[in-house]
Amino acid sequence: MSETIDDVIETFDFLEDWEDRYKYIIELGRALPPFDEKDMTEENRVHGCTSRVWLIHELVDGKVIFKGESDAHIVRGLVSLILMIFSGKTPAEILTIDARDTLDKLGLEKHLSPMRTNGLFSMVAKIKSIASAYAGIPAAE
């Protein structure tokens, strides 16, 4: 993934119209690498999202690589944002990141329904618990 979360924040500042911002989020979703259909399992589902969201992970050279997917375009874009924030970091790094901060910077909270926001945060919670497991420490919930 070439785009970083800082690029996204910059682009968001530049795009003033909500329609353009959504189009951009949709584009980010479309740019997500393909997600294998066999991984769309109940076990990989992230619950608490109003659309269907799946998340898989593996540890490569001490870093957690996440892949995600959703059946809704806008949510897939949001999944892409979350992965930019967390994927490719060490478990210890992941546990210190406050995603809420970044999402606030994007001003997304006012354009996302609480339910979908909750979905985002259940995704973050799942990522943190995966990182905790890799780090060998119990998830702080």
């Binding site: 909500w18 329609e19 329904s113 979908r116």
Partner: protein, 417 residues
């Protein structure tokens, strides 16, 4: 498609612009745009008459009811019981004793399952549901099935979302003890032939529970005419407050049923050896009731009655026809609601966008619709879709609301193409 739908009669004395002024929520802007509210099927907006009644209850007439000998308690009791009588008349029940206040339709169904069901259903008895039931009319019966080993069977629908009456009738036998079916499907808008369903079920000796949540805000329902054994609905979908609903049940059934919950108000006398239960309807209303909710519910009924179903029904039917016509100009839109007889609700999907995408884009234009499985996953499975976008009408909607929705759907196509 809508040949059997009542042809819309222009409601000449129905001034929707004036009626909208009764609803304070429409005076505000959402993201700087007028509110286009098309989610009344989930919960309806409240007229100031209801808000005023609730305010008055707390500000001027508040005390616990059914207990105090003093003035405020008497006034509160009177108003609360007046609401019960209003509801009785509203649905033409035989007696106020047949009106049990509950938290909502969900609690009403759970009450019937836990009280009537536990007492009268035994192993092997059948409960017939329909494919398009709300989860509230599925899960309580599954809980009972797991406890009592009863059997749940499911009446089918066709791919246009019509209730298949003949197939339903063929499922009836002496084993069927209860038929629990919606009057109007919340996910699809289908009106079921409820009168015929009740008649057929009674022929085999089964009782019938009707989920009337979507029907009661839209049409006159008459318990004497329908002959339903149980009929449930919520106040908040009928322009009343949340947290209050009604279980209607025939008095002889309520008398035969054990109490659902124990506590204050539902007893006549209590000793550690023996408790004597109160008479109907209080036997089923343990604890301090939702006093302001009950009173607000009464005000909502006054409000709806003042407009009249002879006006509300045709107004909403006319809008539904208008919406059906306009919405099909949207490219790639698949209508899920296609029943011959429908009211107030249109469910659809779009080729280019997931329902949540649709809902999110519409939201930016101040348009509120429901997206998701509408608490009716079995019917979503039937159509092989995870969810739909659903618009549902209230008595305050206008053709302009529909125009805005359709413009929004064209925008969705533009954004996702």
């Amino acid at each position: 498609m809508t040949s059997q739908m009542p042809k819309a009669v222009p409601a000449t004395n129905y001034n929707v612009e004036e009626i909208r002024k009764d609803f304070p929520i429409f005076s505000q802007k959402i993201y700087g745009k007028p509110l286009t509210f098309l989610d009344s099927g989930a919960s309806a907006q409240k007229p100031r008459q209801v808000l005023k009644a609730i305010q008055k209850c707390y500000a001027e007439e508040y005390a616990n009811i059914h207990r105090g000998v003093y003035y405020l308690s008497q006034v509160g009791t009177q108003k609360y019981e007046d609401s019960r009588v209003k509801i009785q008349k509203f649905i033409n029940a035989a007696s106020p004793n047949e009106i049990i206040f509950v938290r909502g339709a969900t609690e009403a169904i759970n009450l019937v399952a836990q009280s009537w069901g536990r007492k009268f259903l035994t192993k092997g008895d059948e409960v017939v549901l329909s494919r398009m039931e709300h989860h509230s009319n599925i899960v309580p019966w599954q809980m009972l099935r797991d406890e009592k080993n009863i059997v749940i069977t499911v009446a089918p629908i066709d791919d246009k979302a019509n209730f298949l009456f003949d197939e339903f009738e063929a499922m009836l036998s002496e084993k069927v003890k209860l038929v629990a079916i919606t009057h109007i499907s919340n996910a699809l808008g289908t009106i079921t032939p409820i009168k015929e369903i009740i008649r057929a079920a009674h022929k085999v000796g089964a009782k019938v529970l009707v989920d009337g949540c979507q029907a009661v805000p839209h049409m006159r329902v008459d318990m004497q005419e329908l002959d339903a054994d149980f009929y449930v609905f919520s106040g908040h979908k009928l322009y009343g407050p949340t947290g209050v609903g009604v279980l209607y049940a025939k008095e002889e059934l309520l008398n035969a049923m054990p109490p659902y919950q124990g506590g204050g108000d539902m007893i006549r006398s209590v000793t550690f050896e023996k408790t004597v239960y109160n008479d109907l309807p209080h036997k089923f209303e343990a604890g301090t009731p939702h006093i302001a909710g009950g009173i607000g519910f009464g005000a909502a009924i006054d409000y709806v009655e003042s407009l009249g179903f002879e006006n509300i029904g045709p107004h909403e039917d006319g809008l539904l026809e208008y919406a059906l016509d306009k919405i099909q100009t949207v490219k790639g839109l698949r209508l899920i609601s296609r029943a011959d007889s429908m009211a107030g609700i249109l469910s659809f999907t779009m080729d280019l966008a997931h329902p949540h995408d649709i809902g999110t884009i519409l939201d930016q234009d101040g348009i509120a619709i429901r997206t998701g499985h509408h608490c009716a996953q079995p019917v979503m499975d039937f159509f092989d879709i995870p969810s739909t976008a659903r618009m549902s009408l209230g008595l305050y909607n206008t053709e302009e609301d529909i125009d805005r929705l359709v413009a929004g759907l064209h925008k969705v196509n533009r954004i996702f193409s």
